[in-house]
């Protein structure tokens, strides 16, 4: 009997990661914010998914799944200047689905909830798998072609989102029905690798379609040099992933860390996560300040990420022994890594503090307080249920009727009475923080 107890997180993850990919609105939010995606979400997903070993291939994949789209969404936002969530997206529908299933699990118990007859019949998994393996690449290729067409408005967003989500969901259901998703039974010893490969394929395809779509758009607008420059800025991401892989797959190291002491692997994942967050912040700052000096450059890559990547291989190849044994045993090594991660984490907090403080000084504002004079002078710009201009325009395209024709949400009267012109004024004057 397959164990479906981890289905919510597994549904949440691909939903969060993958459904944000919908040209012709190539820029979108990646679902989780940087720290949550790299340092918190990964561990939560991997823990709930029960991968049984933090240094296994599956855990590495779970790290990649939220991180890949987040990095490329930031990268995309820099080059396109837009950030649009499609009709079905991870931050809303994915989280809602996950919360619902987790609540049911907590109320009825894992066994009772996931023993429900949800799995398809014996013949469907083959079709579902076929649907995934065939439909997903076709959809992705179609997106590449579509995004490269000049002046193309693209498919209807709902039409775009539905086949992709169905194919991805079918892949999960088919895998779950075969029992090789979550529970390593005697007959499915290689199940984890199989499903990890499946997730990795999905993530790689999606990221590739996103990169190609953005490159096509940049090529149209800025030519070959612009697209090559954009492509070169993907290098930090791949180097960070390589550094993490070198730690996890260096001979001897994973086996040494497979103990009840989580400090070692937490430090390794944490350091890679911090690298990732810093690269995202640098890209965001570069986008906000319109200056490429903030981008992750040689100091970041050669000074920190590359030594981190090369350290285990160098030490292991020098003596032919595992790094952990050289450092005086597992416990000592774990503490060493923990101290190193704390040290780097402290530096990273200083980095965050420094960048936000300087931005605040440049803007003349405070990070954690509202200036009373400013708040007193400026009355509320608009009720918070107002949608921005771009939201209204896109909703108009989605519904074919326009945002004004949509049923009015059940809000209070003053919020309904604000006109579109008020929204426009708010957007142009101080509506910079239009996130959601």
């Amino acid at each position: 009997m397959p164990n479906y107890s981890h289905l919510p997180f597994l549904l949440y993850t691909p939903t969060t990661s993958l459904l944000n990919i919908d040209p012709p609105y190539p820029a979108r939010r990646a679902g989780c914010d940087a720290v949550n995606a790299a340092l918190v979400n990964w561990a939560n997903i991997a823990l709930i998914a029960g991968t049984h070993s933090p240094v296994a291939w599956q855990s590495f994949i779970w790290f990649l799944v939220p991180v890949v789209p987040f990095f490329f969404a930031s990268w995309e936002e820099k080059f396109t200047g837009e950030f649009v969530l499609p009709v079905v997206n991870g931050p809303n529908e994915g989280i809602f689905l996950c919360i619902s299933l987790m609540l049911a699990q907590s109320w009825m118990g894992q066994a009772a909830v996931w023993a429900l007859p949800l799995s398809p019949n014996a013949s469907s998994p083959i079709l579902l798998r076929l649907a995934f393996w065939v439909a997903a690449p076709i959809i992705d290729i179609g997106r590449w072609v579509e995004s490269s067409l000049e002046g193309s408005k693209g498919l209807h967003p709902v039409v775009q989102g539905a086949p992709g989500s169905l194919s991805y969901a079918s892949a999960w259901i088919s895998a779950a029905s075969k029992g090789f998703v979550f529970e390593s039974t005697a007959g499915s010893a290689l199940s984890g690798e199989l499903i990890s490969t499946c997730v990795f394929t999905i993530g790689a395809l999606t990221a590739l379609s996103q990169v190609v779509g953005v490159l096509a758009r940049v090529f149209r607008e800025k030519g070959l040099n612009g697209s090559l420059y954009a492509l070169s800025l993907c290098a930090p991401f791949f180097l960070i992933i390589f550094s993490l892989a070198s730690w996890l797959f260096t001979p001897g190291l994973p086996r040494s860390f497979s103990s009840k002491t989580p400090s070692g692997w937490l430090s390794v994942y944490g350091t890679a996560g911090v690298f990732f967050v810093e690269s995202v912040i640098r890209i965001m700052l570069s986008f906000l300040c319109q200056d490429d000096i903030f981008l992750p450059g040689a100091t970041f890559l050669l000074g920190r990420v590359l030594p981190f990547a090369a350290l285990p291989s160098l030490l292991s190849s020098a003596t032919g022994k595992a790094l952990v044994s050289q450092l005086g045993g597992e416990k000592v090594a774990g503490n060493f890594f923990l101290c190193a991660a704390f040290f780097y984490g402290a530096l990273f907090l200083a980095f965050i503090h420094s960048s936000t403080t300087q931005c605040a000084q440049a803007l003349g504002i405070k990070v954690f307080s509202i200036q009373k004079q400013l708040a007193a002078q400026q009355k509320p710009a608009a009720p918070s249920t107002l949608k921005s201009e771009i939201t209204e325009a896109l909703l108009e395209e989605v519904t074919g009727r326009g945002a004004g024709a949509l049923p009015t949400p059940p809000v209070s009267k003053p919020q309904r009475q604000v006109s579109k012109s008020a929204s426009k004024r708010a957007t142009s004057s101080r509506g910079m923080r239009q996130k959601k």
């Binding site: 918190v40 855990s59 609540l103 995202v280 200056d291 803007l363 009720p383 509506g431 996130k435």
Partner: protein, 150 residues
Amino acid sequence: MCGSFFFFFSHPGFCKSLYKKALEGSAMNFIEVHPKHAKSLKSFVYKGADLSYLYNYALSDLAAYFVNVWTPRWVAPNTITLLGLVFPILTLFVALYYQPMMGTGMPNWVAFFCALSMFIYSTMDNMDGKQARKTGSSSALGLLFDHGAH
């Protein structure tokens, strides 16, 4: 002596100078925002939208209710952003306590805690932008803090 030693190192001026030296001497390649960037930061206009029906007809109104009714005007949006991050981190440590090596068989209440913290995180993530518009404190810094630092 121990007290004076502690007083010396806890002195704000000393800590500040030590902090600055640490920033300058570290390999972090710390960011320096020049005055020329202030113009770009101030003129930045966010272009984005959420086309989700669930958000536009339910979650947005819920977040707006919490902002308009329960959130005082003196609460900074970035504070809401940071508070939201506390909950998934808390969940992480709770889950790590029960399954430090990513096994299976966590208690049911952990699942409820996961759901609750995820809901709070999502709602607060929706609230910060609304609070910024409510208080007129929208800025590029909020975007950076929300997407990057949060």
